[in-house]
């Protein structure tokens, strides 16, 4: 009965979301307080029902109820408990249910933390989120019902979760990524509500910024984890493949990054309003596009669970309605929000504008490279794949340009700055960056362009950020007090910018100096890679809960001193699938990475040996960016109620 309860709860949740989408919206238009007030209880009710539904599916997995088709396809009685739970979102239907759960969670969170907002705004925001929920509930119930039964022919055992997904990374990666994807529906709903209400004031920005930051932080962590997972689980030692699925999550991140910056200008100066709204719309539209590409089966990847044409058509139609509708609304209402802008080119506004321009260009280039193969396929121009060189040839120089602007822009004043301080800052930055480019690459034995440019960018950002921190903390009796007086928003920016610097160093050095060797090794053989001696001590067999493993033993030494003992595995799961588990010795300075290929004859194995310097810095940078976003939300100005007088009407220029 439990799956039926889950199904029933989902249908009730659809009903609630239908009411949520219509009644508060009408109430806001007609000025009915009670109708508007219905939004909060509806949002909470929807969360409870979706949570019940999700719990029922999890219970079906835990109870090994293989009469449920989805459980039979992705579960197995031998799976450890934590994989039984993560199997809930291991495939299409369940991951959509997770998506809906996250959406209901965000909606309820907005309902809970918006007590000080004008009731019309809250009603409209929640109603827009209700509309999105209606779309996804329908998608789930009509095309991808996870509670479908296999009766009366229920199998005795489940087909098991894809071994690639039986991993800690998969337990946390999808929920976090979804928190980010779906979290972007909040700024989207705020943008639509602002367009509908014709008001976009300081209160609006103050409320939108923390939500955007949190969603962006989740998205950052989700992408970082995805990259980390691909690195250790796929066994290729790569951390970014420009795979369409990665691009699908990276594009909303880029636009959300632009949005985070544009919102700062809108809050502080009241400018870029139309642009901010457009970015909010596009950030969410791109996360929907990502869902479409990933879930519809048009892409070849681990994430493409099923190629069911009705699903693709449904998501595409939904996407069309959301993007078309919101752009139409934007075209009709945005001109009313215009304010005349005035700022010099040496101002923070100008640099944020340039940052936004570059981010938009990067996104457009990635979008082109990601969609072109799909379009070409549909149009019959042949089956094409676009290689990483295309993406790198744009992404790398544009990112370096971003880094250059970031160093200077963050220390400029609003409106306009004097030329002399800017020149002094640039001089100091160059004084640090040029030697960094010239000398630091030698740490890895040779001088290479890519690494030199990346390290110069890192040094430039770090030097200018720290210098700014130093100067801003000078106006206090002591340095410590000065640092304490700086606001959360500023600390968040410092942290996130340093995160970018760290990630750039990691990407540049890891790309330039990683060494990889595919070799044939007999037990007792020693192979030297980048100064490390890898000795292969043979392979032993061992059994896991639902697989047989062959475990290689590698002893790694440097100059005769033991460094690490690595045990890469080759696993054969019950379903017959073979999986590689890399043996990794992680370090801040370098990773040693060993993969067992295949047995060649009696005792010899094909083995892949990697030494990857600074590769950890990439994920460390991602973590710093996310921490920065969260720290900025802690800024005390977001907790103080916005004085009513500060809320200027859209048509009046702020002071």
């Amino acid at each position: 009965m439990i799956p039926e309860y889950g199904h029933f709860a989902l249908i009730l949740a659809l009903c609630l979301s239908l009411v949520l989408a219509v009644v508060p919206m009408l109430g806001a238009t007609l000025g009915r307080p009670l109708w508007m007030a219905s939004a909060r209880p509806l949002a909470f009710g929807q969360l409870v029902l979706v949570a019940i539904s999700f719990g029922c599916l999890a219970a079906a997995f835990l109870g090994d109820d293989f009469s449920v088709r989805y459980v039979a396809q992705n579960g197995n009685s031998l799976l450890p408990v934590y994989y039984k739970i993560s199997a809930v979102w291991g495939a299409h239907e369940g991951s959509l249910l997770l998506w809906v759960l996250v959406l209901a969670g965000w909606t309820a969170a907005v309902a809970a933390f918006s007590r000080e907002l004008p009731p019309e705004l809250v009603a409209r925001v929640l109603a827009v989120m209700g509309m999105i929920a209606v779309g996804f509930h329908l998608f789930l119930l009509l095309t991808s019902n996870p509670f479908e039964r296999l009766l009366p022919m229920a199998p005795a055992e489940g087909r098991d979760l894809n071994p690639l997904l039986q991993d800690f990374g998969l337990i946390v990666h999808p929920p976090l990524l979804y928190m980010g994807y779906v979290g972007l529906s909040v700024p989207f709903a705020f943008a639509i509500a602002a367009l509908l209400g014709g008001r976009m004031d300081v209160a609006w920005t103050r409320w939108t910024r923390p939500w955007t930051n949190i969603a962006w932080a989740f998205l950052t962590i989700g992408i970082t984890l995805g990259s980390w997972w691909a690195y250790y689980e796929l066994g290729w030692g790569g951390w970014w493949f420009w795979d369409p699925v990665e691009n699908a999550s990276f594009m909303p991140w880029l636009i959300a990054t632009a949005l985070v910056h544009s919102l700062a200008v809108t809050e502080k100066r009241g400018l870029f309003r139309g642009w901010t709204l457009l970015l909010a719309i596009f950030a969410f539209a791109l996360s929907l596009l990502g869902t479409f590409m990933v879930r519809s089966g048009v892409l070849t990847s681990v994430h493409a669970f099923a190629s069911d044409p009705t699903r693709g058509v449904f998501v595409l139609a939904f996407l069309g309605v959301v993007i078309g509708g919101s752009l139409l609304l934007y075209g009709l209402r945005a001109p009313a929000l215009r304010v005349p802008a005035s700022f010099g080119w040496r101002s923070r506004e100008a640099f944020v504008l340039a940052n936004n321009g570059l981010l938009a260009v990067i996104t457009a280039v990635i979008l082109l490279g990601t969609l072109y193969p799909l379009v070409a396929d549909v149009m019959g121009w042949g089956k094409i794949s676009v290689g990483p060189p295309y993406f790198n040839s744009f992404f790398v120089p544009l990112t370096l340009a971003l880094a250059l602007l970031m160093g200077i822009g963050a220390l400029l004043q609003w409106k306009d700055s004097a030329p002399a301080p800017m020149a002094r800052a640039a001089g100091l930055g160059a004084l640090v960056a040029v030697p960094a480019a010239g000398l630091l690459p030698w740490l890895w034995g040779s001088w290479q362009w890519g690494a030199a440019l990346a390290l110069a960018a890192t040094a430039w950002i770090a030097a200018l950020t720290v210098r700014d921190l130093w100067r801003k903390s000078a106006f206090a009796p002591s340095r410590w007090q000065g640092l304490q007086r700086l606001r959360g928003g500023y600390w968040g920016m410092v942290c996130a910018h340093l995160g970018i610097a760290v990630a750039i160093a990691g990407a540049g050095v890891a790309s330039s100096y990683s060494v990889q060797q595919d070799v044939r090794m007999e037990p007792g053989d020693t192979q030297v890679v980048a100064g490390y001696e890898f000795r292969f001590d043979g392979v032993t067999a061992r059994d896991g809960p639902n697989y047989h493993a062959q475990i290689g033993a590698f002893d790694v030494r440097r100059d005769g001193h033991p460094v690490a003992h690595l045990e890469p595995e080759k696993r054969r799961y019950q379903g017959g699938q073979v999986m590689t588990e890399a043996g990794i010795d992680a370090g801040l300075g370098r990773d040693l990475y060993v993969v067992l290929g295949e047995p060649l004859d009696d005792t010899a194995w094909a083995v892949r040996l990697h030494v990857k310097p600074l590769v950890r810095w990439l994920w460390l940078g991602g973590a710093l960016i996310a921490i920065g976003a969260v720290v900025a939300v802690g800024d005390r100005r977001y907790r103080r109620p916005v004085p009513v007088r500060a809320a200027v009407s859209a048509n009046v220029v702020g002071p």
């Binding site: 681990v302 260009v361 290689g387 295309y390």
Partner: protein, 157 residues
Amino acid sequence: MHPLRKRRLLVVVFILVVSSIGVALATYALRQNMNLFYTPSQVAADTVPGDVRIRVGGMVVRGSLTRTPGDLGVSFRLTDGNDELLVHYTGILPDLFGEGEAAVAAGYLRSGRTLEADQVLAKHDENYTPPEVADAMKTGHAARAARDAGAQGSSAP
């Protein structure tokens, strides 16, 4: 001209120039880095240029996998049910690579009918066949059926 208008005009012209340069560059880079997908039949029919990187997909012919003793060289044949293509590769094959399974090899055609692959991709899950390979198999089998039917037709009086 009004200074504000003049500035706006400059901005618009600047955006137009920059974006058209950008679009031109992007299209050029895209063309340089596109890897077209071919079937073994298309390679056999000599419709494939020799000096660009291509991808070829099909099923790995059973019994065709051979290893070079002493190093990591392997070769195998890919089929779409109609024609076969010999593929050379040096390195470690993916986990789910196997005879009778779908695979995609990317690389350059050398001396007629051998693909010197620098990358071999296999399916990533037991029930999954890359859509390109599924299509290739379908058209390959259809071509084979048509050829057989044609052969029968011509042998008939």
